[in-house]
Structures are given as structure tokens and as C-alpha cells.
């Protein structure tokens, strides 16, 4: 790992044989997510070491859950994975691309194009319809204008809410809201879906609905990283990772 890092630091300049600018397609073997000795420290007295020397690989199509007690660094990890926060040291490779020190503009574009978020508190725009809320994710991710409506419809159909298109989120149940959020997260065809306590605000029946949805998405090939402190939720994942005091350990 460290040898590769050295390589990255001293990366040579553009190759003279540079061809036309083409979309970079990572090889099948490149993990969707790779953290290399990543550390996130919050300054303070004393400084908070939210993540310590984390190494993590998530392959395409994996369903990973990250469990840990409160304050263990789960949300910090998810923010790093979602390009919402930058590591203090180490690097984060998304589809093989080093993002740790990438310009903010590029990170925004990556976020829009490759990452889908599902939050504990849904984060739907209250004054916009269900349809508009899902369309919102297509605005920033470069989905061609002509495809937006169809894709949003497909996504809402996928989560079983095609009969609620013109509803306001405020009149939906918690489970329905979270399913709208899932539709929004997948509408732009992300490479990975990140969920932070997706069932934290839901009762058990609604939780089960959302988790079933995750299972289906996983079955369709989507990579999922779900953060939770609920063992029932993490049990649904194919792979479980325990985090405590900023240190990750694989759960067998």
C-alpha cells in the first residue's frame, strides 16, 4: 500500500501519447472504494481522532454495513466516503481515483455522478413534489435533460411510489419518505449508495421495507455501504465491519 502511495505522490506528468479525452473506465478489478491509511482528526484540545489509519476496500456489488457505538466515527467515515469531508492524512480512491486532495469542483462532480446518499432524516425538500425531489438529483449529475423524467419515473417505480408523484413529502409516511430518498439516491445511477442510519427514524415495519429495497438494489448489482448501530440492520449486509474509536475491524 505505502509503496503505491509513493508512486502516486511522484506521479509523472501527462503522457505525450495522450489520446482524446475519454471517460475513464476503471477495470473490473478496481474497488469502488479504497481507503489507504486514512486518518481524520478534528482539531481541538485534545484533538479528536475520529478515524485512525483506516484501510478499507469495497468491491463493486458489495453490500457492506458499518456498525459501532455512538461517537465511534461512523458518520465521519460516511462523510469521507461521500466526499463531503476530506481526510487529514492518507487517501481515498473512488473507482481508483485519488480524491483526497482533488479540487472541490471535481469532488462535487464525482459526488453528483457516482455517489448516492440516503440520510437518517430523509432530507427531502418540503415544498417540492416527490417527483421534483427525485429530479433534483439529476440536475447536478449530468443526466441528459431528455432522460431525466423517465429515469425519475423508473426510480420511483422501483421503490414502489409511482402513485405518489405529485404528493408533497410532508404528507408521506416516514417509510415512504425514505423510499423517495432512496429513489433520489439511485436515479443518477451511482456507483455506490451510502446510507447513514437509514432506518433510524423509522418503525420496524417501515425499516423492513427500506431494508428489503436495499436487498433488491444489491441483487441488481448496486454497491451499498450502510452505517448503523442497529444489529438487525447490519445483519442484512453481506459483509459487516465494526468501528470503534476510529478503528475498523472486519466482523467474520
Amino acid at each position: 500500500m505505502s509503496a503505491l502511495d509513493v508512486f502516486d505522490q511522484s506521479a509523472p506528468g501527462p503522457s505525450p501519447a495522450a489520446g482524446p479525452v475519454t471517460e475513464q473506465i476503471p477495470a473490473a478489478s478496481v474497488p469502488v472504494i479504497e481507503l489507504a491509511e486514512l486518518t481524520r482528526t478534528f482539531p481541538g484540545t485534545p484533538p479528536v481522532h475520529a478515524l485512525r489509519d483506516v484501510d478499507l476496500r469495497v468491491e463493486r456489488g458489495e453490500y457492506v454495513s458499518i456498525v459501532g457505538p455512538s461517537g465511534s466515527g461512523k458518520s465521519t467515515l460516511l462523510h469521507i466516503l461521500g466526499l463531503l469531508d476530506r481526510p487529514t492524512s492518507g487517501d481515498y480512491y473512488l473507482d481508483g481515483v485519488a480524491t483526497g486532495t482533488a479540487p472541490e469542483q471535481d469532488r462535487s462532480a464525482l459526488r453528483g455522478g457516482r455517489i448516492g446518499f440516503v440520510f437518517q432524516s430523509f432530507h427531502l425538500l418540503p415544498h417540492r413534489t416527490v417527483m421534483d425531489n427525485v429530479l433534483l438529483a439529476t440536475l447536478y449529475s449530468g443526466v441528459p435533460r431528455t432522460e431525466r423524467k423517465d429515469r425519475a419515473l423508473a426510480a420511483l417505480n422501483r421503490v414502489g411510489l409511482s402513485h405518489r408523484l405529485d404528493f408533497m413529502p410532508t404528507v408521506l409516511s416516514g417509510g415512504e419518505r425514505q423510499r423517495v430518498a432512496v429513489a433520489r439516491a439511485v436515479v443518477a445511477s451511482p456507483h455506490v449508495l451510502l446510507a447513514d442510519e437509514p432506518t433510524g427514524n423509522l418503525d420496524s415495519a417501515n425499516s423492513a421495507g427500506v431494508l428489503d429495497l436495499f436487498d433488491e438494489l444489491h441483487a441488481d448489482g448496486l454497491t451499498l455501504v450502510v452505517i448503523t448501530h442497529d444489529d438487525a440492520v447490519s445483519a442484512r449486509a453481506q459483509r459487516r465491519i465494526q468501528i470503534s474509536d476510529g478503528i475498523l475491524t472486519e466482523v467474520a
Partner: protein, 494 residues
């Protein structure tokens, strides 16, 4: 290695989500796990790192914007560029249409607040339009009512004093008043006039005394100097006015006012008709009309002053009239008495046109300045109002901003959205204010029976001014919004 199959070049503008099953599509049709090639991916992945000691950057293309492809280079040459940002689809990534649509939603979300937000701008733009509009309308009105005759007419009379016998002239206008006035700078024409008493004499067009003719009141007889017609702005209908030669020779000629001519049955002068005043015959040499300042001249038989003095013992001049250049009034008021009565200037009264029009314009200018200042203050307050409410809205919508950032919005996208929102709000205020201003100008004009005058460009400019104010007011909130950290924003929750 499985990756070899993927080493073929992709078409240049391939959007990220179409990149051969990398992304997950909501339709579930492109399923990586069902792809036998991809299935193997989860297998011996570590092998990549084991033999991968070659940096991928050398593959081809420049590392765009600091993004480095860490992928170890395999034995086969890869022709992929490390560009990770989906450049090919940038075209549809939050374009102008999206920006405007999102801003419109933001503006329309709270109609009640919108009204409060734009009220300052509405008042400011409205008061500017009203001020400018009323000034333009009033200027048009003044021009319409501007009485050129009144502004250039001077009347000179002997002063009078009240005594026990009644009012009595204390001064005297000299016979050569016309020459004396003409010498003063600013005088364009001057003339003198005096009523002539003809005693019991009658005025007739024929010498025969026809007893059967009805008794009609005879026309007045006036004596004037030759320049009088021009001094009072009259017009010769036919023939001519007398000149100083007639005056000096005391010729027996007359000019008739238009109504007097009708009364006497004279309508043409080419055959040298005569009228009789008493027993003397006077040749009619002209007929005049359009005398506004001394309309009694129209009803009169007009003699040269010299003739009147010779035939009717005219003893004094009643009035002198002068037509002056615009603005010469004050000079004339000073100089005319000295010119006519150097020893006793007090005995001559001069009525000059009031300089009030200038005063009125000055007052108007002051009022305009005050209104414009008030409008400016209202605009400032309006701008502050927009800034304040937009800032409040940014604070309230922190969660939305965080969400948009998480969905891929750049700082620039966020800033642009709030900036456009505030420009739209300002523009809306400007349009409404401008419309209300036009309405007010028209209403006032209707009430005063004026013709409303308002420059179209003022109206359009005022509306656009609202947009400019929105732009200015929205800059700080937009920068604030763009600077919001997505994590902090998302933690707040909505």
C-alpha cells in the same frame, strides 16, 4: 486479467452513468452482478495490487485537475485517460434552465414573504418613476401653457395717485415714447395708444345722413403710434398699418379693427374707401385683427397720434406697449421710467412679465431632488430588505444547501442559485414598482387634466434597476450560501 476486456477505447463523450455497467441504473437492467465478467471481480482482487507496481497516470492523457488514477498498470497498455469528471455530460449539468427553474421555485416557495421582501424595491422604483414621470408631465404642461405673449409683453403707464377727486395721473408719457422705448436693449417693438374723444361727432361710412338708419353705438376711436400694431402682436388683414410719415403729416387716414370694419361695412381697402368722423373724411388704408393685448383695438377706428392731436386735440398718451425679448423684463422695469421721465422716474409705472416661471422651475427642481433622494433611500432600504431576507432564507435553507451539495452541486451552483433568486426578486419589485409608478403618473395626470408624459426607457430602466439592486443585495448572501460546508448543513437536518 479481466480488466483487459475493458481496455478498448470508449467514445469520447460517454456520460459517467453509461460507462459499461459501472453505475447502477434504477431500471436494474444493467446489473453488474449478473455480468459474468464482473462477477469474477470479487475474486482475486488482491492480485491487482500484487503485481501492480506501475502508476496508472502514465496510461494516457493528462491527470485532470489533480485527480490521479491510482490503478496499477497492467501488462497491457490502457488507453483510458484518467479523467474522472464526466466531461461529456457537462452540457446538461445544472444548465441555465435548471438554474432559473430552481431559483423560480425558491422565489415562489413563500409568497407572503416575497411580498414583504419586494415592498421596499417596489416603493423605491415606484417613487422614482412617479418623480421622473410627474416632472416630465409637468414640463410638458408648462411648455403647453407657456404664454409667449405674456412673457414678452410690457405695459407702461403714468403712475396714478388717489386724491379726494379720485384717481389722477401723476406722470405723463412723452409723445415720442415709441422712439425712447425702442432705444432700450431688449425691446423688439414699441407703440403708444390713447383713446380719442370725438365729442358729438358720428362715424359713418357714407356722408349722407340717413335719418331712417338705425341708431347704432359708434365705434371707439383710438390713436396709436405706428409701432403699436407690432408691439401688441396684431395682424394686418388687408391693406397696411400707417407709418411715421402719416403720423408726422397728420394725414387723414385710418385703420379699422376687424369688428369695427364689419360694423361700418368696410371689407376691402383697394378702392380707398372713406369713413366720416363728424364732417371729415378719412381714408381707410387697412384692417387689422388678432390683437390680443388690446382687444378693444378690434372695435376701434384707429388714427395716427399726429392726426388725432391735429383734429381732436389729443392731450395725452394713455399707455405704451412694448414687445420685449424673453427675460428682458427686469432690465426694462429699471430703464423704461428713466428713459421716459429722467427727472421723475417714479411717475412712470412699468408692468413687466413676472419672472415667476423661473422661480417655479427652481421650486420644481427642488421638489424633484427631494423625491429622487427619497426614492434613492427607498431603493437602499429595498436593497437591504432583499439582502436581509435572502440572508435569512440562506440560513433557513442550510439543509437544502447541504443536500444540493451532497447531490453534486458545486459552490458555484449554490451561489448562482441564490444570486438569481435575489435578482428575480429585485426584478419583480422593479417591474411592479415601475407599473405602479406609471399608474400613479397617469392617475395624477387624469385628475389634473394633464397629458401624461413618461419616457419608455425610464420605465424599462426603472424595472431593470430593481434587478440590479437584487444583484447587489444578493451577492453577500450568495457568497454565504456558497461557503456553507455540506457536513454542517446536513447535520442541521430539515
Amino acid at each position: 486479467m479481466r480488466g483487459i476486456r475493458r481496455s478498448r477505447p470508449e467514445p469520447a463523450p460517454a456520460p459517467a452513468r453509461d460507462d459499461a455497467g459501472q453505475g447502477w441504473s434504477p431500471q436494474g437492467s444493467v446489473a453488474v452482478a449478473t455480468d459474468p465478467e464482473a462477477e469474477a471481480v470479487t475474486g482475486p482482487v488482491d492480485a491487482v495490487h500484487d503485481d501492480g507496481q506501475v502508476p496508472a497516470e502514465v496510461a494516457s492523457g493528462r491527470p485532470r485537475r489533480g485527480l490521479r488514477l491510482r490503478r496499477p498498470r497492467l501488462s497491457l497498455r490502457r488507453r483510458k485517460t484518467p479523467s474522472i469528471v464526466p466531461r461529456g455530460s457537462v452540457r446538461d449539468r445544472f444548465g441555465i434552465r435548471d438554474l432559473v427553474a430552481e431559483a423560480a421555485h425558491g422565489v415562489g416557495a413563500r409568497p407572503g414573504r416575497l411580498v414583504l421582501t419586494i415592498i421596499g424595491t417596489v416603493l423605491g422604483v415606484g417613487s422614482l418613476v412617479v418623480t421622473v414621470g410627474l416632472a416630465q408631465t409637468a414640463a410638458g404642461q408648462i411648455a403647453r401653457q407657456f404664454d409667449a405673449v405674456a412673457a414678452t409683453q410690457v405695459v407702461v403707464e403714468p403712475a396714478t395717485s388717489r386724491t379726494s377727486q379720485g384717481e389722477r395721473a401723476t406722470g405723463r408719457i412723452p409723445w415720442d415714447v415709441e422712439d425712447r422705448l425702442n432705444r432700450i436693449a431688449g425691446v423688439e417693438a414699441a407703440g403708444a395708444v390713447a383713446p380719442v374723444s370725438i365729442g358729438e361727432a358720428t362715424i359713418t361710412a357714407v356722408p349722407v345722413n340717413d335719418p331712417s338708419a338705425p341708431d347704432v353705438t359708434p365705434p371707439k376711436v383710438l390713436a396709436t403710434s405706428p409701432g403699436m400694431l407690432e408691439a401688441v402682436g396684431g395682424r394686418v388683414v388687408t391693406g397696411r398699418y400707417f407709418d411715421s410719415g402719416h403720423d408726422q403729416r397728420a394725414d387723414r387716414i385710418v385703420v379699422l379693427g376687424a369688428r369695427a370694419a364689419t360694423r361700418l361695412g368696410v371689407n376691402r381697402v383697394d378702392r380707398q374707401p372713406s369713413i366720416f368722423i363728424g364732417e371729415h373724411s378719412y381714408t381707410v388704408i387697412g384692417i387689422i385683427d388678432d390683437v390680443n393685448r388690446r382687444s378693444d383695438m378690434l372695435d376701434s377706428v384707429i388714427l395716427p397720434i399726429g392726426t388725432a392731436r391735429a383734429d381732436f386735440d389729443l392731450s395725452s398718451i394713455e399707455q405704451a406697449h412694448a414687445k420685449i425679448a424673453v427675460g428682458a423684463g427686469p432690465v426694462l422695469a429699471d430703464q423704461a421710467p428713466l428713459a421716459l421721465e429722467p427727472n421723475n422716474p417714479d411717475t412712470i409705472e412699468v408692468q413687466v412679465p413676472p419672472a415667476a416661471s423661473g422661480v417655479r422651475q427652481n421650486v420644481q427642481a427642488d421638489i424633484n431632488a427631494i423625491f429622487l433622494a427619497l426614492g434613492g433611500v427607498a431603493l437602499l432600504v429595498g436593497g437591504l430588505g432583499i439582502a436581509n431576507i435572502t440572508l435569512l432564507s440562506v440560513r433557513e435553507r442550510v439543509g437544502e444547501i447541504g443536500l444540493r451539495r451532497a447531490l453534486g452541486a458545486s459552490k458555484r451552483n449554490i451561489g448562482a442559485q441564490f444570486l438569481v433568486e435575489s435578482v428575480v426578486i429585485g426584478l419583480l419589485g422593479g417591474l411592479i414598482g415601475s407599473a405602479l409608478g406609471v399608474f400613479a403618473v397617469v392617475a395624477v395626470s387624469l385628475a389634473k387634466e394633464w397629458t401624461p408624459i413618461l419616457d419608455t426607457w425610464i420605465v424599462i430602466g426603472a424595472a431593470l434597476l430593481g434587478g440590479v439592486i437584487g444583484l447587489g443585495a444578493g451577492t453577500y448572501p450568495a457568497l454565504k450560501a456558497a461557503g456553507i460546508e455540506p457536513i454542517t448543513a446536513l447535520r442541521g437536518g430539515t
